[in-house]
């Protein structure tokens, strides 16, 4: 395995990548960076251009324009050098049906440049990491979808690459297997950069340091989820359960923040109601909501700030993009 003595600042860089098929633009001006050891989620609806971008980064597709570098090596100009630092698991994870798991992994290890005396060790380690030890002698043709995915991930880990590109790694797995893969991916943090393409938001949210959101072939948002939450969903709501009327609550919140909105969600019972209050982004009332309501004499059972999930961020980012496209 080739190893650079000096570690580059970036594990992976995509600079204005564009891919056109005739009149159809699959991706346009895709620019992002991934640092060493970072786990980044690549999100987008079907057809957003995630797989196209990953294939360009893996050297399996030439970009119409733009530049991709892996560990400082240009994918287009130095593909062999770039591929030495990279492992790529494509979406459908094609595997040769006529080989046994161990045979396949040994072949891949040799092709990836693992030293001959290390091949067996690396194969054993990868099979152990992916819980495949008991099935080393099984024909790949006889494996379930879940085990095929594990073989793909074991293959990606074989040569201890600097960067791993995983296209929908947990697709078709059962919940136990998904948890296992998540744990495995978390264990890679700090050791290798991982770019995970997925449309399963919960998976990305739990594993990734950062997310990149694609829509219609363009990046519509990227950053840490808390940054994106602040940027895309600045008006966070509060869930309040209090024994009062909507008019009373509205009067109190307007006194704290003139731009606030308030609506009744449902009756909880015994005079208690659930409300949703939305304050303006920089409102000082955010931190004093509970104390203000209590000091105004309201009977309050619960005040909770609603935390926007990745799903909300994703929807907000794609909605914003769709609106911009329409206008």
């Amino acid at each position: 395995m080739a190893d650079n003595v000096t570690q580059p600042e970036l594990a992976l860089e995509a600079n204005r990548l564009t891919k056109r098929y005739g009149a159809l633009t699959a991706i346009e001006d895709i620019t992002f960076k991934v640092g060493p050891g970072e786990i980044v989620g690549f999100l987008g609806p079907n057809g957003a251009g995630k797989s196209t971008t990953l294939r360009i980064l893996a050297g399996r597709l030439l970009a119409t324009s733009g530049r991709a570098t892996i560990w400082g090596e240009s994918v287009a100009l130095e593909p062999a050098k770039a591929k030495q630092h990279l492992a790529y698991m494509p979406e459908n994870n094609p595997l040769p049906e006529d080989l046994r798991i161990r045979e396949y992994l040994e072949l891949r290890a040799r092709l990836k440049g693992v030293d001959e005396d290390q091949v067996e060790l690396r194969v054993d380690q990868s099979m152990h990491d992916c819980d495949l030890q008991g099935r080393a002698g099984m024909l790949i043709a006889h494996l379930s979808k879940g085990f095929r995915q594990r073989v793909g991930i074991a293959d990606a880990l074989l040569a201890e690459p600097k960067i791993i590109l995983l296209d929908e790694p947990t697709i078709g797995l059962d919940p136990h297997q998904i948890l296992g893969i998540r744990d495995l991916l978390r264990s890679l943090r700090g050791k290798m950069a991982v770019l995970i393409s997925s449309h399963i938001l919960a998976e990305v949210e739990q594993v990734c340091d950062r997310v990149i959101i694609l829509n219609r072939g363009r990046i519509v948002a990227q950053g840490r989820t808390d940054e994106l939450r602040r940027d895309l969903l600045p008006s966070r709501g509060h869930r309040v359960v209090a024994a009062c009327t909507l008019a009373e609550l509205e009067r109190l919140t307007r006194a704290m923040d003139t731009q606030s909105t308030c609506r009744e969600v449902r009756m909880v019972g015994d005079g208690w109601c659930e409300f949703r209050i939305t304050l303006s982004p920089d409102s000082p009332a955010r931190d004093q909501l509970l104390s203000s309501l209590v000091s105004a004499g309201l009977r309050v059972r619960e005040v909770a700030e609603e935390q926007a999930g990745l799903e909300d961020i994703f929807l907000a980012a794609t909605r914003r993009d769709n609106r911009e496209v329409r206008t």
């Binding site: 399996r60 494509p90 094609p94």
Partner: protein, 253 residues
């Protein structure tokens, strides 16, 4: 170079562990065995100007067209269909290493098939006794013929590889290889057979036709005549086809 060696060993192993290779080999030996048997029978009835081994080599286009497409059709088209070729190219192994390893594996298999044909003259000589006719073994023709098949096989196998790189269907790859090899094998003879009267405007085709007479080249080799023209033809043709195959694989989805 390491990628080539690893891939070649893998390809040879896969080829010889596959029942289809053994079935194809059995078909090949059956075909040549029957031709050889009838040639011996013909020679035993009437003295012939050719030996049984020469007779088999004259039928060389038959196994070329029927057997070789079966060997080449799986190597690239099948892998493209399964998507494993793309996965292979995500490793540091280059498209050139992949193509040349697969090519070398099929070529070696093709040559091994033909070397195994030597068993028939050997068995016939043993069974009939060398005193019957010393020409039954005919080692010079056998050696020359196999050397030619090894040389021409470079071009023939590379044509099969090129056809396999253009499609995801092994069946279509075999059909395309069959058509290309048929064109290459019979075109020389057909052009040569054109009547000279009234076909003067086709005179320019005579020279290329002379270059393409595959069976003629085989007969020359089997007689110990080694001309540089076919050597150059087969080597350059092979390099061209393999180059195009590498380009096709690099740009394939």
């Amino acid at each position: 170079m390491r990628s080539f060696r690893v891939l070649l060993l893998h390809e040879l192993r896969s080829t010889w562990l596959s029942w289809t290779t053994w079935a194809t080999w059995a078909l090949f030996l059956s075909l040549l065995g029957i031709i050889h048997w009838y040639a011996i029978l013909a020679c035993s009835r009437t003295p012939m100007p050719w030996t049984p081994t020469e007779a088999v080599f004259r039928w060389f286009p038959l196994p070329l067209l029927c057997i070789l497409p079966l060997l080449t059709m799986r190597s690239l088209a099948e892998e493209r269909r399964a998507g494993t070729l793309g996965a292979l190219l995500t490793t540091p192994a280059s498209a050139l290493a992949v193509v040349t390893a697969k090519f070398t594996s099929v070529w070696l298999t093709w040559v091994i098939f033909w070397i195994s044909f030597a068993i028939f003259p050997a068995v016939a000589a043993q069974a009939l006794g060398a005193s019957t006719d010393p020409r039954i073994l005919d080692g010079v023709t056998l050696g020359g013929g196999i050397a030619f098949i090894a040389l021409s096989g470079l071009l023939h196998v590379s044509i099969g590889m090129l056809c396999g790189s253009r499609t995801r269907s092994p069946g279509l790859a075999a059909l395309m290889t069959f058509i290309c090899l048929l064109g290459l094998t019979v075109s020389g003879g057909l052009l040569d057979a054109l009547p000279s009267d009234g076909w003067e405007w086709l005179g320019w085709l005579k020279e290329p036709a002379d270059h393409l007479r595959t069976v003629g080249h085989l007969e020359d080799f089997a007689s110990g005549i080694i001309d540089s023209q076919p050597v150059v033809l087969y080597l350059t043709g092979c390099a061209l086809c393999l180059g195009l195959t590498v380009l096709a694989i690099e740009t394939a989805d």
